[in-house]
């Protein structure tokens, strides 16, 4: 039994190499450009107003860029399924579960390493106190939840071979969900009537899809600098960022389990 697990892990490793080597150059170019952009933004912010409060807001950009970067291998997987290239790998003893696991690695884990690690490293160099005090690192669990929901949704769509739909969902996840989350929470804090209702519903839905942005926006309005306060008392009935993260993580797990169960039985 253990031998078969070891063989499975080995196959995932080998197949990850195959998938990652496919569009590695494009991936590295985009990842490097995104990292350079982020570093430039950090430097600008540090020079103008050094401090800790902006870290969480900067990560909203990191999340958006990360979500764009994840599309690279998500579309690779989707095209592989669509063109039946997957048959080639399954015929060579790769199991369906291993295929989904590899898809998750290529879609989620690789961009996470190439995007988040250099960012944290750079931050550690230019302002080590932030990392040492643990303020930035305390954001990491929340970021991971955010990455997980995005990776699980991309994996679900990619495993169905829907490459065009994936790009549409990618745009929604990378840009719109973040903007809508910010806008919805703003409406809950300051809107009225129908706008308040829409904002409330929007916050609940996009909070699951973009838990990190939800957390940043929630904290921004819940603890504004004196004398600003949300004008709607309803604002405080919104789920806390922690609750929303738990809901988001549960949704991710549900999506992943559903993807695996469905993929194990689907025709390829």
């Amino acid at each position: 039994m253990r031998r078969s697990h070891v063989a499975g892990v080995k196959r995932i490793y080998v197949f990850s190499n195959i998938v990652i080597s496919k569009r590695l150059l494009a991936f590295l170019v985009v990842a490097s450009l995104l990292n350079l952009g982020l570093i430039y933004m950090i430097l600008l912010s540090k020079l103008s107003s050094p401090g800790t409060s902006q870290e969480s807001i900067f990560f909203v950009f990191v999340v958006g860029l990360y979500r764009v970067l994840m599309l690279n291998y998500a579309t690779t997987i989707a095209r592989e399924v669509k063109s039946s290239e997957i048959q080639l790998y399954l015929a060579h003893t790769l199991r369906r579960l291993e295929y989904v696991a590899t898809a998750l690695i290529a879609i989620g884990l690789l961009p996470l390493i190439t995007q988040l690690a250099p960012y944290l490293a750079f931050l550690g160099v230019i302002e080590p106190s932030l990392l040492l005090r643990g303020e930035t690192l305390s954001l990491v669990p929340l970021l991971l939840v955010d990455f997980t929901i995005c990776a699980s949704i991309y994996t679900l769509v990619a495993s169905r071979g829907r490459d065009t739909l994936l790009v549409i969902i990618g745009v929604v996840m990378a840009l719109l969900s973040i903007l809508i989350t910010l806008l919805s929470i703003f409406m809950v804090a300051y809107g009225s009537g129908i706008l308040l209702t829409i904002g409330y519903l929007g916050s609940l839905i996009t909070g699951i899809l973009a838990p990190y942005t939800y957390s940043v926006a929630y904290n921004l309005y819940a603890h504004p600098p004196y004398p600003y306060q949300p004008q709607n008392p309803d604002f405080y009935t919104l789920p806390s960022p922690t609750t929303m993260s738990i809901i988001s993580l549960t949704t991710s797990i549900f999506v992943l389990v559903a993807t695996i169960l469905w993929f194990k039985r689907r025709d390829v």
């Binding site: 063989a7 080995k10 196959r11 080998v14 197949f15 190499n17 195959i18 496919k22 063109s83 039946s84 290239e85 048959q87 080639l88 790998y89 399954l90 015929a91 060579h92 003893t93 790769l94 199991r95 369906r96 039985r265 025709d267 390829v268």
Partner: protein, 303 residues
Amino acid sequence: MEIVEFYEVTKKYGRVEALRNASFKIPGKSVTALLGPNGAGKTTSMKLIMGFSKPTRGKVLVWGVEPWRCEDLRIRLGYLPERPIYPLDAVVEDLLFHLAKLRGLGKSEVERVIKLTGLEDYRESKIGSLSRGYIQRLGIAQSLLGEPELLVLDEPTANLDPAARREVLELLKTLYKELNVSMIISSHIIPELQEIADYAVFIDRGVILDYGSLEDLWRKYRVEPLFIIETLDPGRVAKQLVEKPFVNAIRKLPPSKLEVLIDPENYKTFEKTVSELGELVLNYEFKSANLGDLYEKITRGRG
């Protein structure tokens, strides 16, 4: 022992029924031709054998287990897909090496299949630059990785020009002789597999028309088998054979061969007669009748 068994298998894609109550068996150590026109259900059958699809109804067994449930089974199978689905910007040797690694194999296995399929001069070529014939060779090469016990080859000669088709068929014949591996080969060009196959499954519009060893099918549908006899004295051998009641026609093939059409029910008697001719006969081979004729008779019989 049967290696593949279909029991009343129905496979639907949406409303389309690709296979309808298909039942047939394929024995081991055979080359099986899965024959039928385009859209007959051949690729669906192949996918069911490989476990890429799950039957809507019925049961598919390969070595007694259901392939869609038991993914470990695929280590014993080699598969050539109908369409070339290889990453076109990959290098031949690299792709084979990656696939070999998935099976836990090393470079020596890649060397073996490259040599077997005559890809030595193209090992460093990009797949996209290969001709269709060589892409098909690559397909056969990857299917041979890990020395599978059964090769499932979906339309290996589809979209090839006649010369390339001939080459691929010759390659398959050589592989069968050298490796002694069982094969299931599908084709919509009915007669082309007659030189290599000894078992056939005929399929049309998702329905199995008939199946069995070619020898049995020739007899059942009274399609005349054909023998090629190589002899030192064609005239004398022809004279002796023409008197036999089960010999229907004899034709001389220069320089020293005879083509003999016989009554399908007297196959064994004919073989005995030929062996009695002793040293006059240098060699003889059963060349089978035309698969196309057989297919026609089967479809006419059902029509």
